[in-house]
């Protein structure tokens, strides 16, 4: 700590240059925070507490291709399947087309038995069971639209009209569930039996089945047995783990991880060149000063440490500011765009990766100038050579 003043004074030597360098580091880490926030959403999907004990069975063609409800009784006979639920994607908007309720899903009555990580009160579950038009929503979604239990919520369906031709479905909010993360609290869950009775088409079908299995080690064998039930039929199935299902769902659209890492690679590479140049220039200008430090007894290693500390501090200051700004931007966007925004708060894991990146970049950027400082011959440095 006693050297901090010395390191700080080196940064303060050229204030304008330090300011612009900090700005470029800030911009890079702002981008890092935002992209990692998006990436986290997709990489965390499916990795919930109960996911290991769940298998998802969908049509081999994809989850938008329906499966018959008659499979329910057949899948239940497969050894290792303890419980079975089924869901159908619904999708809709609330009040205006911008308020997309992306995860509106018609679910079977035992849905919450298979998702113990979603916490809902027994009273809400009883109302869910007894109310034909009942819906349970995630706490984050409810907060966004200021919904409370007892509200009637009109949803304009994206796909399914009612039998009378109307696309507006009115639901009664009977409960609110809580989960580990805000991302998991975005669902709008209503009874499949209501959907089945009221929808103009798609009746007697489900989007996918969810099997609760007793032994995750047996997942492969159980999945094969389930898929064998529909082999050579017009509704062949593909059964996979909950995590694999989520990952496949996302990869149908985009390999986001690859894109994020490619962008960040390019950004950090540019940052290293830019900041490396700044550090090299800063050290070049201070050769006589480094010579003086050595003269009064600073060892080669101390000078190396001082220059590295300077570059790590420079990157860390800009990086921390960038991540704080990224967190603020995500919060603001989340407030404005709600569930349409596929972003996670800039949390501990993003901060951890960010801090590691700051230290690594700081060390890389400072390595050459620090080595130069370390190798300085005092008599040359004092002579300005």
């Amino acid at each position: 700590m006693k050297y901090l003043g010395l390191v700080w004074s080196a940064l303060a030597r050229r204030k304008l240059r330090t300011f612009f360098t900090l700005l470029s580091v800030l911009a890079a880490f702002l981008l890092f925070g935002l992209l990692e926030s998006v990436n986290s959403v997709f990489s965390e999907v499916g990795h919930t507490i109960g996911a290991a004990h769940r298998l998802i069975t969908e049509s081999k063609v994809g989850f938008m291709s329906p499966l018959p409800i008659s499979l329910d009784s057949q899948i239940r006979t497969v050894p290792g399947v303890e419980e079975l639920a089924y869901d159908n994607y619904f999708g809709g908007t609330y009040q205006n087309p911008k308020n997309v309720i992306g995860s509106a899903i018609a679910v079977s009555g035992n849905f919450f038995d298979l998702y113990p990580e979603l916490k809902v009160s027994p009273a809400a579950l009883r109302r869910f069971d007894s109310t034909q038009t009942g819906v349970i929503v995630g706490a984050t979604l409810a907060r966004r639209y200021h919904w409370k239990v007892g509200d009637q919520i009109p949803i304009k369906a994206l796909i399914y009209p009612q039998k009378g031709g109307s696309y507006t479905w009115t639901f009664d909010l009977v409960g609110i569930y809580h989960a580990r993360s805000a991302m998991e609290e975005q669902d709008f869950l209503f009874r499949w039996r209501y959907f089945d009775q009221a929808a103009a088409f798609g009746n007697g079908t489900v989007g996918w089945y969810v099997s609760k299995i007793s032994n995750p080690q047996q997942a492969g064998r159980i999945a094969a047995r389930i898929d064998a039930l529909s082999a050579n039929s017009d509704h062949e199935t593909k059964t996979q783990t909950d995590s694999a299902f989520a990952a496949n769902l996302i990869s149908q659209y985009v390999n986001l991880g690859l894109i994020v890492h490619a962008i960040m690679g390019a950004v950090f590479f540019t940052l290293i060149l830019l900041t490396g140049n700044t550090m090299a220039q800063a050290v070049r200008e201070r050769i006589p000063e480094l010579g003086i430090l050595k003269t009064i007894g600073f060892s080669n290693r101390s000078v190396l440490g001082l220059v590295l500390a300077e570059s790590v501090l420079l990157v860390a200051l800009g990086g921390i500011a960038g991540l704080i700004l990224a967190g603020t931007v995500v919060n603001v966007l989340e407030g404005q765009m709600g569930s349409q925004l596929p972003m996670m708060p800039v949390g501990a894991s993003i901060w951890l990766r960010g801090v590691v990146a700051m230290i690594v970049i700081g060390l890389v950027v400072g390595a050459l100038p620090a080595q130069r400082g370390m190798r300085l011959r005092i008599v040359d440095a004092l002579a300005g050579r």
Binding site: K2, I378, L382
Partner: protein, 233 residues
């Protein structure tokens, strides 16, 4: 009593490409404890090289340097750095203060290498600044001080860790006459009142008058008088 600095057969050869340049040639020199020695001589005579070797900033090609009973010509780079921190204070022509640090922080620099607490470091720096008559300029940065004042801050930095030896390379070379007199008087006081052993390189005969005795270097060899140096030239 053995001298504080004992130099025997000291040679320094610089190699520039294929050329070898012998800057010091078998120099023998004793500097007693409490001496104020002025080293004079024409440019290129090897004064600064000799000073750098005495201060442990460079290593000789041949010969021995013993300071306070320790052979410093045998020390490795990190040992030499530790030795400098404990035994030598340096004053240069262009002050060489760190421009972003206040006078106090500049003076504190050598003490960063000790185990002293922050408060102790500040108090030692204050005493050193008081000694050079700059207590009222402690918070000023070098850019806010005159040349003479900056050199006095550099002297305070050189003495703050109470070194055995002060080496000064043209300490008045960049100062006007009045400031030079102040600085030389200060060095003389440090020598007389505080017993500091000082080796000073200078071109200026008036500056050399402040020393207790003067040696002349010419073409890498020590000669006793200016006349002898001129004759040798």
């Amino acid at each position: 009593m053995s001298p504080l600095v004992e130099i025997r057969n000291l040679s320094k050869v610089y190699v520039r490409g294929k050329q070898k340049l012998e800057v010091l040639h078998h120099v023998n020199l004793d500097i007693a404890q409490g001496d104020f020695l002025a080293l004079m001589g024409p440019s290129g005579s090897g004064k600064t090289t000799l000073l750098n070797l005495i201060g442990g900033l460079d290593s000789p090609t041949d010969g021995t340097i013993t300071v306070a009973g320790q052979r410093i010509d045998r020390l490795g780079q990190s040992e030499l750095a530790r030795w400098r921190a404990g035994h030598v204070g340096f004053v240069f022509q262009f002050y060489n203060l760190l421009p972003m640090l206040s006078a106090t922080k500049n003076v504190e620099l050598p003490l960063l290498l000790t185990k002293l607490s922050g408060a102790k470091r500040r108090s030692h720096a204050a005493v050193a600044l008081e000694l050079v008559g700059l207590a009222d300029r402690a918070s000023h940065k070098p850019g806010e001080l005159s040349g003479g004042q900056q050199q006095r801050v550099a002297i305070a930095r050189a003495i703050v860790s109470d070194p055995t030896l002060l080496v000064c390379d043209e300490p008045t070379g960049d100062l006007d006459r009045q400031s030079a007199v102040e600085v030389l008087t200060l060095l003389q006081r440090l020598n007389r009142e505080h017993g500091k052993t000082i080796v000073m390189v200078t071109h200026d005969p008036k500056a050399a008058e402040y020393a207790t005795h003067t040696l002349h270097l010419d073409k890498g060899t020590l000669v006793e008088t200016a006349e002898a140096a001129l004759a040798a030239s």
